[in-house]
């Protein structure tokens, strides 16, 4: 028996066509997968009930261990266990510090290769192993195939790092609906995307990394204004301070690794305990060290860690400065990462910005939950949010000869976007060109929506097809379209600005989309007919201009014959009979083949006349 989930009104899918979509937080330390189940973003737990998977992969001779299984093998085989592979994504050996890793790394054509018992592995393959594991878990948990995923990446990830992440997903067999920035996902989880506008600080303090992002929301679209952070600052540093405090009364160094590890674990427990309690008492003896009997209060911990806390505040200041903002301009602060549970952090950030924090969603899970919500929207499972503001709902293009639409920007392209194409003149000596901007999915201009027209004038007279006119479409984040046409030899240009969505209601967009599907066959036919018509007209124009120039090459009979064929094709063009036009075009081509050959000979002999072999250049 299949288990069903509750859909949004009108969004039930057909059997076996569920659009299962997930959000994946592929983290440096831990990774999570989430999905919207019956309208609620939910973390998908594994068989053991764990909500987080350590981002660790262990290779032995035969097998690949992922997550907890890899973590278990980390102590015995650190040289075959890869943790923090995310730090290697899209990087070269020069960009990183190999000593930070327990595995041995080498350069492989500018990329990093990791030595394992199964040969060299790339960071992309390691990430793919993690993603694959998450995908399997997701499919087990959701009871079906996952159609797509939104994967989060740090806001500062460059194109190479983003591409590497996409490649990893591809290897794992995951269809990436979109990569979104981790801070954006966190903001989405808090529903900030439903506000009209605002500036948000996303404070992300994880186990080993610290990131600050300033996001600007405008018309439902987040823009990263500034990022700052410290890739070597995290919860572990706070643990270390407590360790120092505990052993500060002893002069002796740590007697052994086991004691060191015990104290380390205890330090973490104390830190976590201080989230709930105002003080924690320690009374425990350690082998070779003695008894530790001390009490750590929140106040003491705050003073111990003041330097670290201040460091993070300085990062906020720097990021605000980069974004040209002050704390007064901030409309919300989102707390991300397990370490933001520490009250000392909450107090410090709250005091600095001067407003209550958004912290009621589990900071470890908030990114994955936001990604799941985005995935659900992108998969088309929601009602009201089907049309995202940050994609183009309908294709944009221009009219070309024969009333055909040439698509420049396909629908669903993400904003901002710029695309261009080269066009040419249709007639000899043509000095102007009309750019007619249209919107829609249909192939003929009359079935699309006209957005505007403008003329590019002053093209130098040339033969048809010689002029190069570059038409560029650009849509900014507000959805504003600017179209520019530029003649490349002279540099003359002309442009227009329109708002494509202006006056279009969602249901109209839906209608336009639906009609493009239902008329697909008809459109195919119309386009083919229009194209063959343009071809025919062009051939007639060419022949007429050739006859004018080189009439003397033909005898009257031959000229008559061509005229007859031209006349036949002209008549055929007036009909909608594709086969007839095709046939008459072919006949005209045949009738003029000899003429074309003669013209070619003639122009070659003209070019050769009066030249000796020595002056010819080959």
């Amino acid at each position: 028996m299949a288990l069903l989930q509750i859909s949004e009104p009108g969004k039930s899918t057909l059997p076996h066509e569920h659009r299962l979509a997930v959000g994946i937080d592929l983290g440096t330390t831990n990774s999570l997968i989430a999905s919207v189940i019956s309208g609620k973003a939910t973390i998908l737990e594994d068989e053991e009930g764990s909500r987080m998977m350590p981002s660790i992969v262990h290779y032995d001779e035969k097998q690949i261990f992922v997550g907890v299984e890899a973590e278990k093998r980390q102590v015995q085989g650190p040289e075959d266990t890869i943790a923090s592979a995310k730090r290697l994504m899209g990087k070269g050996l020069m960009d990183i510090r190999p000593e930070d890793f327990t595995v041995s790394l080498e350069d492989s054509a500018g990329n990093i290769a990791i030595h394992t018992k199964q040969g060299l592995k790339s960071p992309v393959e390691v990430s793919a192993a993690l993603l694959k594991r998450l995908k399997e878990l997701g499919e087990k948990r959701l009871g079906g195939e996952i159609m797509g995923a939104v994967i989060t990446v740090p806001a500062y990830f460059d194109d190479a790092q983003r591409q590497a992440t996409k490649d990893a997903a591809k290897i794992a067999g995951i269809n990436v609906l979109r990569l979104i920035n981790e801070p954006t996902a966190a903001a989405v989880a808090y529903g900030l995307d439903k506000k009209v506008e605002g500036n948000f600080v996303i404070y992300d303090l994880g186990g080993g990394t610290f990131d600050i992002s300033i996001l600007r929301l405008e018309n439902g679209l987040f823009e990263v204004m500034a990022t700052h952070g410290d890739s070597a600052l995290g919860g572990d540093d706070f643990d270390h301070l407590i360790e120092q405090w505990m052993i500060s009364d002893f002069d002796t160094p740590m007697p052994n690794i086991k004691t060191k590890q015990l104290i380390k674990n205890l330090s973490r427990k104390i830190k976590e305990g201080l989230t709930e309690k105002s003080e924690i008492a320690v009374n425990q003896s350690f082998d070779g060290l003695g008894t530790i009997k001390k009490t750590l209060t929140r106040e003491k911990f705050a003073s111990l860690s003041a330097d670290l806390t201040n460091k993070t505040i300085t990062c906020i200041k720097q990021a605000l400065h980069d974004a040209d903002l002050t704390p007064k301009d901030i409309t919300g602060v989102v707390m991300v990462g397990g370490s933001t549970r520490m009250p000392i952090i909450q107090v410090a950030v709250e005091q600095f910005i001067g407003m209550p924090l958004l912290n009621n969603i589990d900071p470890d899970e908030v990114v994955a939950l936001g990604a799941a919500e985005q995935a659900n929207i992108l998969a088309g499972n929601t009602n009201n949010e089907l049309l995202l503001l940050d994609v183009i709902p309908l294709s944009l293009g221009i009219e070309t000869m024969g009333d055909i639409v040439e698509r420049i920007i396909p629908r669903n392209s993400t904003l901002p976007v710029a695309m261009g194409q080269e066009f040419t003149t249709y007639q000899d000596g043509q000095t102007g060109i009309v750019i007619h901007v249209v919107q829609g999915e249909r192939d003929l201009v009359k079935d699309c929506r006209s957005l505007g027209k403008f003329t590019l004038k002053g093209i130098p007279p040339m033969v048809a097809g010689a002029a190069k006119i570059r038409v560029t479409f650009q849509v900014d984040t507000d959805g504003l379209l600017s179209v520019k046409a530029k003649e490349l030899s002279t540099g003359i240009e002309s442009s227009i600005e329109v708002k494509p969505s202006y006056g279009l209601e969602d249901h109209q967009i839906q209608q336009m989309l639906a009609s493009s599907f239902s008329s697909a066959e008809e459109d195919k036919e119309s386009r083919a007919l229009a194209e063959i018509r343009v071809d025919g007209q062009q051939i007639i124009a060419m022949i007429e201009s050739a006859l004018e120039q080189d009439k003397n090459l033909l005898n009257p009979n031959e000229i008559d014959h061509i005229h007859v064929r031209v006349h036949e094709l002209t008549k055929a063009l007036a009909t909608s009979d594709r086969a007839l036009i095709e046939e008459k075009t072919k006949l005209l081509n045949e009738a003029t083949a000899a003429f074309a050959a003669k013209r070619m000979d003639h122009s070659i002999s003209k070019a050769l006349t009066g030249k000796t072999i020595n002056t010819l250049e080959f």
Partner: protein
């Protein structure tokens, strides 16, 4: 006859409705499709359509249009768990045969 929920299903629906923040109840229906004739529709409902039959079970309103009711009258909606997967299940007395997946059925 009527449409009912099990206690477990009702608790879940209540939770989902609460987190969704709006909605008057559940909409149950069938549509003619699928590998075995008909398929179930399970949706949140934001309104009570005038022509629909409205049932109530454990405080949850269930809307069913008259055409669908013929095929699902007497159904009990349960919430079940299979391995890691969990979800709603139609216990429909009208079903003669269902496809292997249980997502579609014939009466």
């Amino acid at each position: 006859m009527a449409i009912t929920l099990t206690k477990k299903a009702a608790t879940r629906v209540e939770k989902y409705l609460e987190s969704r923040g709006k909605g008057v109840g559940l909409k149950l229906a069938v549509k003619t499709t699928g590998c075995s004739g008909m398929a179930y529709v399970l949706e949140f409902s934001d309104e009570i359509p005038a022509e629909d039959h409205v049932f109530e079970s454990y405080g949850i309103k269930i809307m069913v249009d008259p055409k669908s009711l013929i095929y699902i009258d007497g159904t009990e909606l349960d919430f079940a768990r299979e391995g890691l997967n969990e979800g709603f299940q139609f216990n429909n007395p009208n079903v003669k045969d269902s496809c292997g997946c249980g997502e579609s059925f014939t009466v």
